[in-house]
């Protein structure tokens, strides 16, 4: 602000107060050029003016006059500025918004501008709910109180307003909210306020009157001494879900029951259906098995009956034949009953197949059923095996990779804008050939025929190494680095998202681009194909996640709400929900309803998950979501209650960014994570284990009942079932023991670490469980040690 502005302001003020003498003197002072000697004096005066901030406030308020609209505009400008600010400082600056808003609202009401105040309030509330998915309890109560204050008279009588306006017992100082800012954020704010000219004056006054800006040295995040208010928000939100009756947050929730009346956590109170779809593959398989078992049991019973009948027939005694018939009937009935009970044991609720989702193709279903039959059981007691695929000569250009369901193909996206499909059987064959030729060279020396002529040369190792290795399919089309790839459910299509802002679909078999989806303007960070096909989701740097149907080049839904780049997008197993995560300024994981495109779960990372989320994984039963962050943390939430289930302890967490997460197939008993610290870690999912144990027990009970009902020959099933449940019990006991024993170095809790496996020198870029529960991992080889 220039001196002349100040002069004008001052003059106006003096005139208004009717201080004629002062006005004359002032005009005189302004008109005469400042004497050289006066400079110091002026400086002193300026200093004095600075000190008497009250006077300046008055001045500023006065200057703003009664233009209520200016306030609204200024606030909008502030919000806009904060949203476009550097990611790093945005969370800090966003903390200013609430106190400023409260003060502005009160000021507006004080100015008898009720309409503007109401508009401001409505806009604010809408924005907060849209972008944050809820608000802190304190903020919500503030809003309810503010909404009640609509006129100056009410304002005067309200203690709340008095306190906020600095009229309360504590004086103006008590009205100030302390906000900690890092030096550069403070600098940015000040510069922005000062360069805004007269428009910013009301804002300046508000900031001066309601904020106590504390500048703390250091980076914005690393200040544990001063608790960051935003994290409280996260914790409160986490504790305030609809299922608040249980868990550690219960007391808190009860205490704040009144405040909950506000819209706090509104989003997380949305009812969502997390159950799997009816007729999903797992259920189909289970049904099949039960059918087989029932049939077998019936057959056995019939056979038994027949066996009983046979000797009876030989004796020629009718009553016994009757008995046998009865027994057969009984057995059949019991089998049917058993089948019915086991059907009722189906875990969790199932939701109807929504009409907009396609059915799985038959060949996919049959393949999946076959794979489930061959699936290795993966539990904490029987950890999985992991095949690691090392990308050599990648030279830091590998961005992403993914596997098809049996791990025979790997798709990788590279920085050089190519997508490559590696066919592992071919490549393995080639490597075997290489190895053989290398070994063959040693004993052979110069291989010569008996007659002395050199033997017909097999391709030498050098030649083989020189030539382009077979089994690699290059998909060229993107014009910038490819950041995400995914296989469609039938493994025939490959989706890729690139920095050039497009999503492309390729035919994995013949290597041609089938479609381009140019919806994003900014880089696409992630792409995920729907587990049922036909749909896919993408997320990008434009802070929006999009839902697409493969037959249209425009997105069907925009999932808007994240405050920063949406980094990850994943489908819920029931395909009706999509999970996204955004980092940096946002640091939230959200769940969206596909039908309405609305946010249904808002899971702030808070302190439990330091850093920004980098990857997501949803448990196969759809009840939990795990997120890994770029600072090595892994956190799991329960989606139904929006409550945090577990968070990795610093002692066991990754020491670098977590790049990938994967739940094991089936019950999801094991969660695998891999990251930049070149390790793959396994975590025990107790809820999955419980599910598995329940399943086994249920099966055991069912067959046990069957055996009882069947009478005579209990059947193999019963024995199996009994053994199974016994074993399960043992395993459970063993697991418990393990937990006790490992107390020293393993954290207690629902997600205890099972193991840590280092790769030689490869950060783990992708992880997946194959359909038969082999853990597949991939990463580029870096010669120079771990990158941390």
């Amino acid at each position: 602000m220039r001196d002349s502005d100040w002069d004008q302001l001052f003059l106006q003020y003096i005139r208004k107060r009717g201080l004629r003498d002062v006005e004359e003197r002032f005009v005189q002072h302004v008109r005469q050029p400042p004497a050289p000697g006066d400079k110091e004096e002026a400086a002193a005066v300026a200093a004095g003016v600075e000190m008497a901030s009250g006077l300046i406030d008055d001045l500023v308020c006065f200057a703003a006059g009664h233009e209520a609209a200016v306030y609204g505009d200024a606030y909008e400008a502030l919000v806009g500025w904060v949203d476009s600010c550097l990611d790093m400082y945005r969370p800090e600056l966003r903390r200013l918004l609430h106190p400023v808003f409260v003060r502005l609202y009160l000021t507006l009401v004080d100015m008898e501008a009720g309409r503007e105040a109401a508009a401001l309030l409505a806009r604010y509330r809408a924005r907060v709910l849209a972008t944050l998915g809820g608000m802190r309890r304190a903020a919500a109560s503030d809003l309810t109180q503010l909404a009640a204050l609509t006129s100056r008279s009410l304002l005067r009588g309200s203690a709340f307003a008095a306190a906020r306006l600095g009229l309360g017992p504590g004086g103006p100082a008590a009205a100030k909210t302390a906000v900690a800012l890092s030096p550069y954020a403070h600098d940015l704010l000040m510069r922005w306020l000062h360069t805004g000219g007269g428009r910013m004056l009301p804002l300046l006054s508000v900031v001066n009157s309601c904020l106590d800006l504390q500048v703390l040295e250091g980076l914005p995040k690393g200040a544990p001494a001063a608790p960051v208010p935003d994290d409280d928000l996260a914790d409160e939100l986490a504790g305030g879900g609809p299922g608040g009756a249980g868990g550690p947050g219960a007391d808190e929730a009860g205490a704040d029951a009144g405040a909950e009346a506000a819209e706090a956590n509104m989003v997380n109170r949305t009812e969502i259906k997390l159950g799997l779809l009816q007729g999903n593959v797992e259920d189909m398989y289970r049904e099949q098995q039960e059918k087989h078992k029932a049939e077998a049991a019936a057959a056995a019973a019939a056979a038994a009956a027949a066996g009983e009948a046979d000797p009876a027939a030989a004796d020629g005694q009718e009553p016994q034949t009757k008995k046998a018939k009865k027994a057969a009937e009984k057995a059949a009935a019991a089998a049917a009953a058993a089948a019915a009970t086991s059907k009722s044991v189906v875990r969790g609720e199932r939701i109807e197949h929504p009409p907009f989702l396609p059915k799985l193709p038959d060949e996919v279903v049959s393949a999946a059923l076959r794979d489930i039959g061959l699936r290795a059981p993966v539990t904490a007691a029987a950890p999985p095996s992991c095949a690691f695929f090392t990308f050599v000569n990648a030279k830091q250009t590998l961005n992403c990779s993914t596997f098809n369901s049996d791990g025979s193909k790997i798709v990788a996206g590279f920085n050089d804008s190519s997508v490559r499909v590696y066919d592992m059987p071919t490549i393995s064959q080639h490597h075997a050939l290489l190895r053989r030729s290398r070994r063959g060279q040693l004993p052979g020396g110069g291989g010569t025929n008996p007659d002395g002529t050199p033997a017909p040369a097999a391709p030498s190792a050098d030649d083989l190494e020189e030539c382009e290795p077979p089994g690699t399919l290059y998909l060229h089309g993107h014009t910038a680095a490819v950041h995400a790839v995914d296989f469609s459910v039938d493994q025939r299509l490959v989706l890729s998202g690139s920095s050039d802002g497009t999503v492309r679909v390729w035919g994995a078999e013949f290597g041609a681009c089938l479609a381009v989806y140019p919806g994003h303007v900014f880089p696409v960070w992630d792409v995920a194909a729907c587990p049922l096909g036909h749909w896919f989701a993408s997320a990008g740097a434009d802070r929006v996640a999009r839902l697409w149907v493969s037959e249209r080049t425009q997105p069907l839904r925009l999932l808007v709400g994240h405050n920063a780049d949406v980094d990850v997008v994943r489908w819920h197993p029931n395909c009706c929900l999509v999970a996204t995560a955004a980092g940096q300024a946002d640091r939230t994981v959200r769940l969206w309803d596909v039908r309405e495109g609305k946010c249904v779960r808002y899971l702030p990372c808070g302190r439990a998950l330091p850093g920004s989320p980098t990857c997501l994984a949803l448990s196969p039963d759809g009840s939990q979501i795990a997120a890994g962050s770029d600072e090595g943390g892994v956190t799991v939430w329960d989606l139904g209650t929006a409550r945090r289930v577990a968070a990795s302890q610093p002692s066991t967490a990754h020491t670098g960014a977590v790049w990938c997460l994967a739940y094991s197939q089936g019950d999801g008993c094991v969660l695998a994570s891999g990251g930049a610290d070149e390790t793959v870690r396994l975590w025990r999912n107790d809820s999955g284990e419980a599910l598995a144990a329940a399943g086994v027990a249920a099966a055991g009970d069912g067959t046990g009942a069957d055996g009882e009902g069947g009478g005579a020959e209990g059947g193999e099933g019963a024995a199996d079932g009994a053994a199974g449940s016994k074993e399960a019990g043992k395993e459970g006991a063993k697991a418990g023991k393990d937990g006790k024993e490992d107390k020293g170095n393993k954290p207690e809790g629902p997600y205890a670490q099972l193991g840590r496996y280092r790769t030689k020198s490869s950060p783990v870029v992708s992880l997946a469980f194959s359909s038969r529960n082999l853990l597949l991992a991939a990463g580029p080889f870096h010669r120079r040690g771990p990158i941390t």
């Binding site: 550097l86 090392t390 030279k395 680095a481």
Partner: protein, 810 residues
Amino acid sequence: MSNPNFITPGSVRAIALSVDVTYLTEEAAKALAPDVEYRLREVIQDALKFARHSKRTKLTTQDVNDALRLRNIEPLYGFLNNNDPAKFVRATGAPDLYFVRDDTVPLEQITCAPLPKAPNATTVMPHWLFINGVQPQTEENAAVDPRPAPKRQRLAAAAAAAAGAGAGAAGAGAAAGQADAAAGQKRKAGQAEAAGGAAAGAAGGAPAGQPGERVAMPVQHILSDEMQRLLQQIQATLGSPSPATLDAGSDERGEGGLWGCVLELDAADRGAGANGSGLLLTPMQRAVLTTVQRDPGMQQLLPYLTKHVGDEVAGGLRQLPRLHMVLRLVQALLLNPAVSLEPYLHTLMPPLLTCLMAKSLGNGPTCDHWALRDAAAAVVARICGRFGEPYYSLQVKVSKQLLRALLDGSKPLPTHYGAVAGLAALGPATVRLLLLPQLEPYLAKLQPSLPGGSLAGATAAVAGGSVGAPAPGGGKEGVRQFEATRVYGALLQASGSAMYDKLMTVAADSLPQHLFRTAGRARRSLVTKEEEEAAAAARQAAASPAVKQEPHAPGAASPGAVGAAPAVAAPRPVANPAIPEQVAVPAPAHSASMETAWLKLQADPKATQVYKMIVANPVSSQSLNLLESLQQLTARPDGRAVTGQALLYELGKLGIGPASIAKQYRASVAAAAAAAAAAAQGNGQLTPNGGAQSPPPGPAAGAGGGMASPPSSGLKTPGSNGAGPSGQAHSGRGGRAAAGGSGPGGSAPGAAGGAAGAAAPAPRSVRAVLAESWREDADLGEVVVALTTLFGPAFLTRLPQPPQLPVMTL
């Protein structure tokens, strides 16, 4: 509060200056600085996003360019793929401002640069990271943290291994397990497991490394039942000495026989040698050794067998039969074509070297540990030979160790013997390179210990074959003397065979002359123009009798016999290979008088006809007769002698000469080396007449037994031209009186006289000569002389005897 900005107005001004903006005001700089910083931060923030989504933790220039493109800013060209770290330069005038020097690169330089090599194709290599939650310790996986486990844990592991062994398996497995448990302090549990065989399971499955990290130790070595039993059988059969071999241990001859059968293991099934009286292997042992040698599955047992070898040697130093058995085992393993010993060499070599060089082997100094050492030397040499190719440093290391042991005066004599034997077994080249240079000082040190305190005594002892047993009535002194004699004998044997080898090689290669510089030098220095004729005559004269006498020369006198050799050896070899051997003679030295005589003769048609006839077909009987008659002609006292001489001279230029002389030439060529040796003795005591023959001082004496080079002192007295003594018959006939009336048939004196001259011109010390003996172009004559000086005449018996040499030249 410090200024949070990194870009200061000063920086902005400096940057402005760098792009030639000199009118930037203070205010503008102040306004620009924060804005520039903000933009920078934005770009960095976006670039980091790109790096993060590329799953990298390193920011690259590509990321920055992507970030710039994202904001529709033109990217920076020229920084891609540039791995050189940017060089920052301090901006002048601004204390804390640095910038990257932006060099101007001509475009042609980039466009015309050769294309870089195409990078290797990115490909995928699969491997198992872990299997059922346990990480296999393979090449592709990260190495286990080498940090040792805490002590308590290690003790527990050792105890567990021991317990496992006790509870677990029988026999060898358990024993090994316990041994390892005892050694558990030093080793990792995993290794114990490997050796512990059956006891493995206990320690093996335990997670190692850091807590939470589950890593399988690499060595879960599973042996099939059959293999385990075979191993036990081998260890039982070879490990405990059978009564037969125990008996053999007390019997030296038996020991020799034992080793003989080890060496014959190759031919074990041929049975001839094996069934002989010397063989003391039980049939069982023989069968086992044959198995070890033949069975292709032996690789499986290698770790255990090498361990067995180590244990046996460590535990059986007093029992020679056990050690012999160990050597046999190793030998059998070496012979097995299906076994690759390479990975176990490092564990095999120390026990072998122990067998070779241990301070005391067997019970007491009287037993025949020498045979064991010899055998060990053979095995070591064999290993070095077989694995020398891939592990070129193996032989170097071994020979270095041997040499060090030899030179270490504090080591006992048996060790020295082992070292010498080992070096000798490593081959003549090694001996020449390593042993010979050390010979002189070593012998000097050894001398006091020898019987009689002198080399001569030792020579006598060695020659007398009394090495088989310690000197009777020895006591400590006697043992030492005996040992010293053995060492002396070994040295003699080693250097002798080294020279023998060399001489035979050289003889086979038809004697490159440079190898006999000594003789040549002597000759060159003595020949003078005036004496040419005499020389030529003397040459013929001297050579023939010497050679003629060879067969008669008794062993001890052989120096004399061969002494003639250098004389004839010196001339250039036959120039024309087309000349048949019967008539091949050395080309004569240039002689002016002969040239003139020949010029005169050319006028004589008869002479030219004879000449032409002979040249046309030197081998025809007529030519041979002609040559012989010419030869006789030269002996005539009248003037025709000159005619004959001239003709012969001219023919000699073509390499043609009378058959008798050619024969002598061949023989003398072969005997050259020995002659050189004899020459050295010319100075010595063995040639009583030498002094009279040729005056001792200097070159004058070097009449070179038949080299036909007159001594320089005798230039004026033709009579004294030294062809004399040995060839006195001829020279007498030739009228050139030999000065010295040497003893009839006294080949030795003559040779000695000549040789003295040969050695004299280059008085190099024995040590210096030997130090260079390894060189390809070393003067063999000198070396032989030097060695003979050291060892005495007995050395010469080790050299190839002259009759052998002509055969070689064929």
